[in-house]
């Protein structure tokens, strides 16, 4: 187990988006001892965010990346955190995540998810990316799954899109965030290989 902890300490994970997925995923990775995190978001914490995101009421109005850095450090002060307060585009993705071992997609909007997946897959063919799709509403625990397509993992139920009738709620959002963190651990600790273009569908 000691060598595994050492491995995690030497790992850098990029997290794109610090909302429900990103904030919960970052906290899980910090608790297991990942050595460095690169967190990116342009938004501020609002009262509405507290229904599912890892922030506190006294942090309303603060920049999410700064509030999240503070929360991570309250758990694990030794972790190295790079916090970027900006809106990511393709160039930013390449620049900011170039030194990360893998990238977690934790955006809200589907078009941003696609941008990140396309950019990372194209520009960093040697990096895994762990994305999320389908987490709105409640119930249906067993619909949650992870699929692998080459260097891309997708966690979620792949069907429930957020809408006014189907809001994102803490339990399912945190489930998917934890699945993403868990997948990251498996990639790092088991040295998962990038199998190239001929991966089997999981």
């Amino acid at each position: 187990m000691k060598s595994k902890l050492e491995k995690l300490k030497g790992t850098c994970i990029g997290i794109a988006g610090c909302g429900g997925l990103g904030s919960n995923c970052a906290m899980a990775l910090a608790r297991v001892g990942v050595g460095s995190l690169v967190i990116v978001d342009f938004d501020v914490v609002t009262l509405e965010n507290l229904d599912r995101q890892y922030y506190f009421i006294d942090q309303v109005g603060q920049k999410k990346v700064l509030a999240l850095r503070e929360n991570i450090r309250r758990v694990n002060p030794d972790i190295d955190i790079q916090a970027h307060d900006l809106r990511l585009g393709p160039d930013g993705v390449v620049d900011i995540f170039k030194n990360c071992n893998l990238v977690i997609e934790a955006f809200d909007r589907a078009d941003m998810k696609l941008m990140l997946i396309e950019t990372v897959t194209e520009r960093f063919p040697d990096k895994f990316i762990i994305a999320a799709s389908g987490l709105a509403g409640y119930g249906n625990n067993n619909a949650m799954r992870t699929r692998r397509l080459g260097s891309l993992f997708i966690c979620g139920d792949e069907v429930s899109e957020v809408s006014t009738e189907l809001p994102p709620l803490a339990p399912r959002v945190a489930m998917v965030a934890a699945m993403q963190a868990n997948q990251a651990l498996e990639i790092v600790l088991d040295d998962l290989a990038l199998l190239g273009d001929d991966d089997a569908w999981d």
Binding site: K113, E118, S133, L149, G150, S160, E161, V173
Partner: protein
């Protein structure tokens, strides 16, 4: 021709079909989809000009908003 779509074999008429035509035919109606052909990610702007042929392995996953 026969292709594999999300790990299921599908038979269809003709010798090739564009990514866009396949998505329409198979009722992948959401605007944002991850498409891979034989493991290679296909960008949305290429859906009309990239064609799928006999024996190709296609994977298509809807991208849902929420996070």
């Amino acid at each position: 021709m026969k292709i594999s779509l999300n790990n299921k074999e599908e038979s269809m008429a003709g010798e090739s079909i564009s990514v866009r035509e396949l998505l329409t035919l198979m009722k992948f109606t959401f605007p944002l989809i991850i498409v891979k052909i034989n493991g290679r990610l296909i960008k949305k702007e290429d859906y009309e000009r990239i064609f799928i042929g006999d024996g190709d392995r296609v994977e298509a996953i809807h991208l849902m908003s929420g996070g």
